[in-house]
């Protein structure tokens, strides 16, 4: 029985209380059109480094756990390093391979079934959107 997908660790992450940042430098919101789930991600940034991350999720356990892990991992990361990490995480989730990425490493202990990969990736999509938004603002 592969209910092991919902390990105690993931369920604990999903239940963790997360909070928005009071004064983020950038905020991104992503929706999952399949189920209406929504992730809001706030980043505070100084000199190209994420100094704080916050957010909220209206979503399933995998989506909420994904956001919790991301909020743990983001502080201290350079903006420059994030696109490659997002791509690595995306590929490894799609391939069901564990241990390749820093981001979402906890979730990657077990392959995520294809129909649920979007749930796990929603926080990452919000991060990608936040980075795009920063990039657009910088170029403007």
């Amino acid at each position: 029985m592969s209910e092991a997908l919902y390990s105690d660790k993931i369920l604990a992450l999903a239940a963790r209380k997360v909070a928005r940042l009071p004064k983020p430098d950038v905020t991104a919101v992503r929706n999952n059109p399949l189920c209406g789930d929504r992730v809001t991600l706030d980043l505070a940034i100084a000199e190209g480094i994420v100094t704080a991350a916050g957010g909220e999720a209206r979503g399933c356990a995998l989506c909420c756990a994904g956001l919790a892990v991301l909020l743990d991992d983001l502080p201290g990361q350079t903006l420059e390093s994030l696109p490659a990490q997002i791509e690595t995480a995306r590929r490894s989730i799609a391939m069901g391979v564990s241990g390749l990425a820093v981001v979402l490493s906890v979730l990657q202990e077990r392959p995520i079934p294809r129909p649920r990969q979007k749930c796990v990736l929603l926080p990452l999509e919000a991060l990608q959107e936040a980075l795009s938004s920063l990039s657009t603002n910088t170029h403007e």
Binding site: E3, Y6, A15, P33, L34, C35, C60, L62, P113, P115
Partner: protein, 414 residues
């Protein structure tokens, strides 16, 4: 508890996906509203056609093409009988109900609707019966009206009537059975009312054709669409029924081979319906499979199918009512084939995955009906939908798996 089908085993035995010795042994399939499984009779008809009868249709001058054409056109006549259409000319093969609705919006709507006209839908529609009309609204300046959801989960009849009152509605288009809840709409009454108000009527029959007989002449509708894959047939093929007098006023949807009478560099003349709306080589094998699916359903007969579903619905409703924290979405005065529900403390997608771990296949999400779920204050539900292979025990397995999910989540996410 199982209804006896005389002189043959339970139809589940006709569906190889459920083979107890096969790779899906023990599968409880409750997602027929998304797509139904296929009986051996359909699989073999498609396979046999490819193996022994395949050729392109209509233009070949050799025997094999003539035989394939006969088989293809034979299914058109078969569908006309299945829907009780007045003529096989009224049966158009499309890719599915979605294409059928888009064809109506494009070929009828572009010609017959003008700024100031209105199209009336209901709050219970699938996205495929919302978005084409929104696009037409934005292109042509028509008004898109929505008959409200009634408190009981049906359509608000008074609102439907009120929205027809000014005579601006030129087309009323609504579902026969709501795909997200199983609500059966009173389509004959709605059709009569809309026609009396001067509108044409289109009906999305996707969730209905596998569950009850449909008589388009008795309904009095101008269009009726359905997809073969929900009727135990192949994917990629569907039906648009259109009343001939209406089809004759419509322009082609796509253009190309097989739908033209003459082509010159300065002018093209189109064939009459239905060929006018069937450009290019169609899904011939899909049509053959649809014919086999209609034969299969006919071999069981509507009395058995309807009695079987009635018994399943009663049993399912009783079983689900005993699951604490499970809330069933209302389906109006009459439900058919579908239970849509939420479970306290368990997100529908998590629930869907855990049910899958118990070998119970359901659909979780918005069911391509986001506006309807929003009316209920929801963004997603779990949907269990029935086919003629389902048995009462399937609901026992569903309820048991829901309880397992509750045990997993309640203490940790409360």
């Amino acid at each position: 508890m199982s209804l006896v089908l005389h002189n043959r085993p339970h139809p589940k035995a006709d569906f190889p996906i459920f083979d107890p010795a096969g790779p899906n042994a023990g599968l409880t399939y409750l997602d027929s509203g998304a797509s139904a499984q296929k009986p051996t009779q359909v699989i073999e008809a498609v396979s046999r056609f490819y193996a022994t009868g395949y050729a392109n249709i209509h233009r070949g001058v050799y025997k094999l093409s003539a035989t394939a054409t006969d088989a293809y056109e034979g299914v058109r006549a078969q569908v006309a009988t299945f829907l009780n259409a007045a003529s096989e000319q009224e049966i158009i093969f499309v890719r599915g109900a979605t294409e059928g609705l888009n064809l109506i919006a494009h070929s009828w709507g572009q010609t017959h609707l003008q700024a100031g006209d209105a199209v009336l839908i209901t709050a219970l529609e699938h996205h495929a019966n919302i978005v084409p009309w929104q696009i037409l609204r934005d292109q042509k300046g028509i008004e898109l009206r929505v008959a409200a959801l009634a408190e009981d989960g049906g359509v608000d009849r008074a609102d439907f009537t009120a929205k027809l009152a000014d005579g601006k509605v030129k087309l009323a288009t609504f579902t026969h059975i709501a795909n997200a809840t199983g609500a059966v709409l009173p389509v004959a009454e709605l059709t009569a009312e809309a026609k009396a108000a001067g509108a044409l009527v289109a009906i999305d029959g996707c969730q209905a054709v596998a569950h009850r007989p449909v008589d388009v002449q008795a309904l009095g509708c101008d269009f009726y669409v359905f997809s073969a894959h929900k009727l135990y047939g192949p994917t990629g093929i569907g039906i648009l029924y259109g009343r001939l007098a209406v089809l004759e006023t419509m322009q082609p949807y796509q253009t190309g081979g097989d739908m033209v009478a003459t082509v010159r560099f300065d002018k093209t003349e189109f064939l009459d319906p239905p060929q006018r709306f069937e450009a290019g080589t169609p899904d011939i094998a899909g049509v053959i499979g649809l014919g086999a699916a209609i034969d299969y359903v006919g071999s069981l007969g509507w009395p058995w199918i309807e009695a079987h579903e009635k018994a399943l619905l009663a049993y399912g409703e009783a079983v689900l009512a005993k699951v604490p924290g499970l809330t069933l979405l209302p389906a109006g005065p009459h439900r058919s084939g579908i239970f849509s529900f939420t479970v306290d403390g368990v997100h529908p997608h998590d629930l869907g995955t855990i049910l899958d771990h118990h070998n119970v296949a359901i659909r979780a999400g918005s069911h391509c009906a986001q506006p309807l779920l929003n009316e209920f204050g929801l963004t997603a539900t779990v949907r269990a939908s029935l086919g003629l292979y389902n048995e009462p025990e399937d609901f026992d397995r569903l309820a048991e798996a829901v309880r397992a999910a509750q045990r997993m989540f309640t203490p940790k996410r409360a």
